[in-house]
Symmetry: D3
């Protein structure tokens, strides 16, 4: 899958250490070491799928002899009752890995499903849905992957891969006598040629200034649709525009209709509801 | 706080590595190294507070010279607009740690706040609200702490600290000719005297059998209130009872009224919405 | 085996890093890279076996091409001279892993063997032998496993999986006006329904109070057999009892005869003598 | 102390993670966060002290505000009842760190005490007592330090800091037509000028050959005193000699009297009994 | 400094573990624990300074009581014989940390010094010198920092913070029927709005195509100055241009004169000679 | 190869995490997941080969399905244009691992090649070339291996595997009234019998004193050939001698001619130029 192997293994290792700790007392007490079984990963509600390769990685870490077969593609839409994967092998291993496997996958499916709702709300407009850095600490790489599976676009991955000048930066710079245009120019000048610079503005005039100063992307913060429309006109296509701030499924159509290029939504990741997945064991 | 120091430092370290990566390009490009500032952590909505010591730990890791002052106690209820903490020191450090500090704290506040709603729904009944293992991989210790701050009670922390015989275990055991009572007895016999054994049942009759077999806790799975009431009568106070399975804020009062001792709710942790916190920088 | 895979790999990895460091200068200097050999793991004294899967895990980490065949079951009693396992493959790899493999296994066999002596001393009484937390830092999971292989029962694994109110806790609580019964009740009330509470007492009267207060297990500290017998009578089977404190192989029969349910022995782990194992290389 | 800071912190961190896990449920449930106390680390038996700085490091990791005062020097002999250290600060922190602190220190004191017995048995001879690599995996650096505190001398620390040609190496080399003298010469030639080469021999004649071949140290394996004496004469002081193999406290005087330079004893570390230390809390 | 605290500590910790291992046998054998000393870090040759905060971090990790005073600013030019820093405290600690501190700093000074030579060679042209990913594995963040201190500009930090379509990518895409323009457009479309896309071309015509396709930066690979000049003209300032491939100090003036915006030089990091620093101890 | 497996995996893992970070955006954006390819690792200049097994380990970590075939032996001399290895498998995996694989290998080849030049300069003399601890932090084990592949001999690996008394130690000891001979004797007495002691001297007289005091190796610091010759005569073969300090390819013949046993050269590792390797993809 699209997650670097080393990173995926670290996440899975950590999750297993957390849940299994010094041993799964239930299976060790009750399940014979030689018992084999088959279990199906089933969704109890309609969903967009993301994270099945992570489920496979969990079982690879628990017990390399467990076989995982994936039945649907990443990004696929499935209905309630669909079987997403089948897990076969040691009953102890399958039971021990169950919760970690489901916890990771149900969260990823939840984010992908949530993302598709926002993407759908855009309708025929060309506006695209962006995520934010409001992700779960330690799981960002999985959550941003899930956003992609839901049709969203990834904003920057961290503080390290792009410059984003926010209101707080601007306020501090203002106290040092540095205005918006100077901030953008200084940022562009201080980094290499492959680092983009985004700047957050709150007025149409500032959007225009930012565009002229050479920003690569402009975040229009908390503007109502009418102002967004003005900003789109003022910038005139010179720089892509991102609308942000309290935008909901309900307000997305109106925001998209203003002509902004991107809408960023923290709720894609910070408040997505997990999809209800379960592991159903075949009759013995 | 109640989180082991080593564990808290690992979570914070990992979260900072993830977000800061090879450096915060924005602050390095724009903010003078010597600039000092003050910022307030403010909630934009009413909430139950949890995680302020984690916020302090984030800044301790970013820059030991940053001073964090906490203004409200863990578990306190606050209204929209309340200032939870003040952070003073290097502007670069405060900006660099902002998102990690907020991501962790807003999630913990969200879980505490969510938990209080379920606790309140119980009303005057003595039933208590339990969490589950449906937590975010890597953050379980923080999330279970947040449940406590919201008035909930922690179920087991992992596969390692109690035995829980679920339907899947029972089905596997049945295939080996081992029934419910035998399973409970075998589990009790195979572990030390400080390991409790819970068993999941789906019928009143099984609840009675489990109680007689010596279970320390019985999970009544997906039973409607009428059946729960029968189970409570059948067990007759010999063993505490936990209702579980699809219980919502709406159905809690009816479930609590049946006389069960505990209600467990996965949604406390797997689908809590983050509280909307922000960091507001003082005028320079 | 019964040790979580992630945990076992970490222990083995750490042990190899410690012993091999930047390289095994002897084998690199002298043994041809292509030389193959066969070695037998032999015990020079009678023993109860524990840890052969750990030996296999050491070689899996050193060189996945080395084949390890185990000849006796975990927990088996063997006589001096018995061959426990055979290791075949690269001579360099087998020599490099030898000491780590033996150091871990001989300690585990030592603990299992030590445990069986205490278990045997109990004779026909139903009393069971418990371990303690007096284990080697970093190896607890292996040592508690070895206790089980020797027929012992594991007490709690750490500070995290049960409550144990010891004399020091009680003294501190007394200074705050909280007595034995209140301490037990407070502990029960403050944790979830699957956390057991043990309390340490020094008098028969306190044992009775602890039982009435709802303790799940009572530790009778340093009581002579006569007092233990009184405590057993006073508690009357309501709560299991654990005798502890300076109990030796010689005094075990008398202690077991008092009717206590458990005897805990720190010496199972903190002072077990390693079994004398060696690796004997087949004639070339 | 003489343990590298980074290594000491890793050992302590790992031991605390193992014992404290997700939290010390007892102190969190019962001991007020603000309670302060004082505890004394007392030995219940005569001992040679080693490891008090490790005890201090444990508390530094648990809670930097806990103050540890050491009352005796490393390597000192103390009588039963002696107070070795005093710990003051948060009652929760002191209780939480107690077992890890004692487990590490009592093992180190045990090894130092054991070592002094072997050193004393040498009497007026100039023979010195060496340890081996039969240490506890993960704790070698602490155990070898304890040997030094008991008056012993450290043999090599691992496979990386010296060459030691043992019987198994020689047997493999013989199969390739390489004899004892050639093995020693090959080893000397293949490494840098600061790597010493020891070789294990079983006959007086081989000792003489090894000395002539340029070995830096010769291990006389399992030789009775009469043969050892012959070997000492045959080598004639050209190379230091180490007697090894089943030497006990009882046989040490006779072995030392043969004139060997060193006696190595695996039992210093692999089977030392822990010293009985306890933490006694001051009256509140 | 500009290196994230967590990352700097990991590098320093790893370097100390590597060099100090299980202990600095020389200082432990010879230097009294209480001896104090003062040492000066001196350069034996003219240099541009980078890495003094790293030197300070090494000593903070070895012994927090050692005081490090820095005498010159990062990026400063110093002459042979200049004192860069003074280290005061435990003689053992200062000696133990010496080589790690120097190894890191002398490499960073070497890179900064090397970079200034290339920057100087550009003369009055506005061309800037870029580094590459040909850095030392594990030290990239330090080496790219040193390039900045020498007046260079950082190219991307890894595979994660920008897209760079190289000849090998293009060859593979060509085999799938995807040409240069399509590759650039596909890359732009598949990532978020803050990810820049660079493409490597070998002809003037391809440079023109890349510019029209929307590349954010174009790498002109191995072109002689005459062709570079043509490419500059063909692109006409629409997209910045980077010259790369075998450019040396001797050829830089001619390359810079062509009007390219950037010249990238792998030799800044992969083959910089360490500056000759030494630690000189004050007379006792 | 001769690098411990655990250590090699750690280095490779760290290097990949550094370069790949949260994902290789270029290959993910452009290269189909199912595309397969073949690439050849080619040297663009004559070189001595070292590190091909490291290259194989990189690909084993990136993607276990990639096949790496090595075409030349470690330590072999190759001419410009030689193909060193072939890599076959997923195009994405091969491209993602390319830079890390080359960065490690080109550095190791550079060190081996550099070493052979110094070895060749010795000519017919029996003097051998030693490396130093001036290696890249984190990569010492690979760099010392490369020195061996180039025909050099490894000096000590760290502060832990031999004693080396340098001028700074001697100056500190002098301040405590301890002279050269006493320092050597004290060092010998304070460590085990397998730890060698080297001492650095600056005069012929001190060389003589050191030899008589029992040093195992004497470093003659910064002596011109005439003095070296005198020192060789004064020591008379009793102890091996190492010349050190500013010795270059040009001065080596004269130094070797003095009869010293070893010449140590920091430049083998701290300033070796990387060999120009590239990965050439087969036509698709």
């Amino acid at each position: 899958m699209d997650i670097p192997q080393q990173m995926l293994e670290e996440i899975v290792h950590r999750a297993l250490r957390e849940d299994v700790g010094d041993g799964d007392r239930t299976t060790l007490a009750l399940i014979p070491a030689e018992a084999q079984t088959t279990a199906h990963v089933v969704t109890r509600e309609a969903a967009v799928v993301a994270g099945l390769p992570v489920l496979a990685a969990v079982y690879a870490a628990v017990d390399a002899a467990v076989r995982v077969t994936l039945h649907v593609a990443e990004g696929a839409r499935v209905t309630a009752g669909a079987t997403l994967a089948t897990v076969q092998g040691s009953a102890r291993s399958i039971l021990t890995g169950e919760r970690v496997a489901l916890n990771l996958t149900q969260r990823m499916c939840g984010i992908a499903t949530q993302t598709t709702r926002y993407v759908a709300a855009v309708g025929n407009h060309s506006t695209r849905i962006l995520d934010t850095r409001k992700t779960t600490p330690g799981l960002r790489v999985l959550e941003k992957y899930a956003v992609r599976m839901g049709g969203g676009v990834n904003h920057r991955f961290g503080l390290y891969d792009a410059i984003m000048i926010k209101d707080n930066h601007l306020a501090l710079l203002a106290a040092h006598g540095i205005g918006l245009a100077a901030a953008v120019q200084r940022a562009k000048a201080s980094v290499g040629p492959l680092v983009c610079v985004e700047v957050e503005v709150e007025t149409v005039e500032d959007a225009r200034i930012a565009a002229e100063a050479g920003a690569d992307l402009i975040l229009l913060d908390n503007m109502p649709p009418a102002l967004l429309r003005e900003a789109v006109a003022a910038v005139g296509g010179r720089v892509p525009l991102e609308a942000s701030g309290g935008i909901t499924l309900e307000t997305i159509p109106a925001v998209a209709a203003t002509g902004v290029d991107f809408i960023s939504v923290g709720a894609l990741t910070h408040s997505a509801r997990a999809v209800d997945l379960s592991m159903e064991f075949a009759a013995q």
